[in-house]
Symmetry: C2
């Protein structure tokens, strides 16, 4: 007998599950129910469509070789029945039947299933303020949304756009709007962009890039109201700190899982508010699977549930669901919360826990900051990247990694994510046989150096302070010396302006030890902390008992106002 | 009592070991003996110096922040004594003394050691033919070599350069010579560039890039003799197939480990001909360590010794040697033979075993070919990369990976190398939470898709042939059908010219099954094998019993002459 599979949701996880079921079991009868017109589009591509980088929205629906995955394609090429423009009204779990209605024809259908797949995605959040429904106030989720925003923004050159929310979508749309020639203000409630995903000293580089591109960035500022002119068009945005003129507003304050149907069906909802599934992607009803943006995942770093909607994860879910439907016991291992974005010339990636999260969760950890060129420093196209590692002191495993800068951020995040997924120690990274040639990396890859620094710290070689800690010491008026061991030329170009700072280049430090106080704490630093570490070792080896170096040096010092 | 450490060799492993010893044990007395003038230079940067991309050779000796690591720097900043221009004559292992001679002053010194480090590197091979000592015949190893080549090549614009050997160095110098405006012929004894490092269908893309840049490539051709004019200058190169005019010759046929000293000292030499060390990097004399290009490594894929000289490995060795000297039990895990190079717009990387090596060593393996864009296909700067995986059928572990193409090859190699080093299964790759956003990767990263294909093959879903196998079938005159399921437009642009080929686009295949023979084998294909695989599944599901798809499709078909 033919198995009957019904998939609700036609964007990422759903079509993936449907297509793989058909490949594993060509006899299965597979139906996809989708409320919109379109299927299998790359939702993550919408900002690039707004920017005009993607000309036609069909490109977002195409396979890599240009085949458009429309209803016809699913029918003819894959023998999958697609009911689009169709809303699911209810599911009868006893009778195993989906009741749906075609919103164009108002026709009702009952579709029986053996296995049901919920791939119903997420919905943008609407902040509880006045004015979110005004003309010119936009949300971005569907191709229709993107088309509307692209059309509007195309007529607003030189006008004011307000982006509410500096998360992944907000940041990508910022670049799109800039290309459209608008004046942009980004307003973020939290103290840094990408919110909970980054620690401040990594977000700092993203902030700099935003500002360097002439975009106003308002951090730690809450939107209270969106104001209208007398024709119902958006006019301005009021925050707890001021008012900003607006010809267009994009609200991108995050998404929440679509759980209406699951709740109505009585399926278990997890503590994150998303649908709970087991490692086979089964819901609390064993005949019903769920995947993609509507489910919660397990974070493999701490074993806790996490809501981390991501197109890459949705595709993985789809495959695993299909396997299980077809009798293959495939399990999803979980996520480490990897995310990445590009803003103009700055790339920022992250995986695992932030330092903030590690602290909140009570880990005993060390951190590493390693700023260095992403390829052999003698090549003119070498670009800076800054790696931050957070390492569990007890297990010596990576808790998280963040990387920012104009250089190749992504591949260092991949190494960190794979190290976490493989259950290895952070010190294993230092042994990885990574691909070295000057156009690709330094002889010791940046993340290998970062792992070596982590090992030193775990073993108690080299004492250091994070930028926060040193900044706190300064703010608290502590009496200590900050020893800059760079060259006079480097010191002239950029420096920390503070009376505690003394300059003695590393090359002459050994001969000038008598200029240093033996009764005072000394914090050494240089541009990237290679010489700073060397100086710390030198002083510690010369009997100075209270010496540390500044993690990441000047390159990672996020307190601009102290800079000369 | 101060520990006395003597390091022989001042390029990569040696200075790294010396510097870390001083950081761990500031009281140690460390001496580096180097036969040349220069220390700690980036040997891998020499081709970029020849190309003029690196202006001054000091840049190759600098730290990332521009500090030149000369004798003065080692003395003043690191308190390391450097004896350069100094040759080691002998080592007395009983008395633990190094006897060396300064080649400038002819002065002899005896230097006692507690621990000795051999970091004596490798030496280019000189082929046993006539004419390798002519004027204009060059080898590339030292900064002096590079300076000579750069000076000569600067005067040879429009003249003929012959590069003997298409290994990593030969390829990098090819690009450098092209920038100098020379007419270049590359002669390689083996059938493909990068020799044993690549399988032919990956090397194929490198060959295309070489030819596309107007460089003559002679494969499977052996140089017999280098010919002189009447003034002792190189005039031409004679091979087993012809003679080529030459105004300059570069010989880059590989390197061999420097083992003279180790042999004279009676240290154990490994089966690869390099110095044998244990996992602590100790030689057969427990007070003598060795690392870098003079030692052999263990290949972690098969546990066998391998000679894989690489700057990245040398740096790792240096650190581990220093640890052990200072009483820390650090072990080197081994290498997987990762290598990468860039030639104009083509990147080629590899790790682990090639298919050829896997076959020779008796593995039961499967292979995967996955050609696809390196980022979201709808972005205009998405570029093709081709991934080949070789997977052990028994253990389901990756034996090796090769990646080629204009796109981001390196990060997929990193993922493969880390997967191998972590001891995971190839199917683990499919679960990695890699960094996805359209500017960085497709929603399912290329290597995740490759791992999924591997899983399908290991589980027997989807039968396929490699390009070799299909080509053999054609060559053997077998009667079978090659079913092209692309669009008529794609078929018009490029196709396999063979009477066995029939075109039925995937979208109409279901309705045209009666046009296909049920008694004949069918091999389906498309551009990249996504549709080819789909067609195979469709036919297999429709009762066709002898169907396979062509791995990698047209994009991976390396037989140009059959192309229309």
């Amino acid at each position: 007998m033919k198995k009957k599979i019904v998939v609700i949701g036609g964007v990422a996880c759903g079509p993936k599950a449907a297509a793989r079921v058909k490949r594993l079991d060509p006899d299965a009868h597979v139906t996809i129910i989708e409320k919109g017109e379109l299927l299998s589009y790359a939702g993550c591509g919408l900002p690039f469509y707004i920017a005009g980088e993607v000309e036609n929205h069909n490109e977002l629906m195409a396979t890599p070789t240009g085949v458009v995955r429309d209803t016809f394609f699913f029918d003819k090429a894959k023998d999958i029945e697609v009911k689009n423009h169709t809303l699911v009204k209810s599911v009868d779990r006893e009778k195993k039947t989906v009741c749906a209605i075609n919103v164009s024809t108002a026709e009702s259908v009952n579709i029986p299933y053996d296995s049901l797949v919920l791939a119903v995605g997420s919905k943008y959040q609407i902040p509880p303020i006045e004015g979110t429904d005004l003309n010119g106030v936009n949300f971005l989720q569907t191709i229709a949304d993107a088309r509307k925003i692209r059309n509007e923004s195309g007529t607003l050159k030189g006008k004011n756009a307000i982006i509410i929310g500096a998360g992944l979508i907000g940041i990508e749309v910022t670049e799109a709007f800039k290309k459209q020639g608008m004046n942009i203000t980004v307003i973020e409630r939290l103290d840094n962009a990408m919110g909970e995903l980054l620690d401040p000293e990594i977000a700092f580089h993203l902030h700099n890039e935003i500002k360097a591109n002439g975009i106003a960035l308002k951090l730690g500022e809450s939107v209270m109201k969106i104001n209208s002119d007398d024709r119902g068009n958006v006019k301005s945005v009021t925050t707890d700190r001021g008012e900003y003129d607006a010809d267009m507003v994009l609200i991108a304050v995050g998404v929440k899982p679509n759980t209406r149907l699951a709740r109505e069906m009585g399926l278990e909802i997890g503590e994150t508010g998303a649908i709970k599934v087991d490692s086979n992607m089964r819901t609390s009803d064993p005949d019903i699977y769920a995947g993609g943006d509507c489910v919660e995942n397990v974070n493999i770093v701490n074993g806790k549930p996490a809501y981390t909607p991501m197109g890459s994860t949705a595709n993985k879910h789809g495959r695993i669901i299909a396997d299980n439907i077809c009798g293959i016991d495939s399990k999803f291992n979980g996520i480490s919360g990897t995310a990445i974005c590009k803003l103009f010339n700055c790339n920022v990636g992250r995986t695992g826990l932030t330092e903030r999260a590690a602290k909140q969760q009570g880990y005993d950890y060390i951190t590493v900051l390693n700023p260095s060129p992403d390829k052999a420093h003698f090549l003119s196209d070498a670009k800076l990247i800054i790696i931050k590692l957070i390492v569990d002191r007890k297990t010596r495993k990576l808790l998280g990694a963040q990387v920012a800068g104009p250089g190749a951020v992504d591949k260092r995040i991949e190494v960190a994510a794979v190290n976490i997924a493989s259950g290895g120690l952070v010190t294993d990274i230092a042994q990885f046989d990574l691909a070295y040639a000057p156009p690709f990396s330094p002889a010791m890859d940046n993340i290998i150096t970062a792992a070596n620094i982590a090992e030193n710290k775990l073993n108690g070689f080299g004492k250091s302070y994070t930028p926060y800690e040193v900044h706190d010491k300064i703010e608290n008026g502590e009496d200590f010396m900050m020893l800059d061991v760079r060259s006079p030329q480097e010191h002239k170009e950029i420096r920390i302006e503070d009376p505690r700072v003394k300059l003695i280049p590393l090359g002459v430090l050994r001969s000038k030890l008598d200029e240093l106080p033996r009764d005072k704490e000394i914090v050494t630093f240089c541009k990237i902390s290679l010489r700073g570490y060397e100086a710390e070792r030198l002083l510690a080896g010369s009997g100075f008992t209270n010496v540390s170096f500044l993690d990441g040096g000047i390159a990672c010092w996020p307190y601009k106002k102290e800079m000369g």
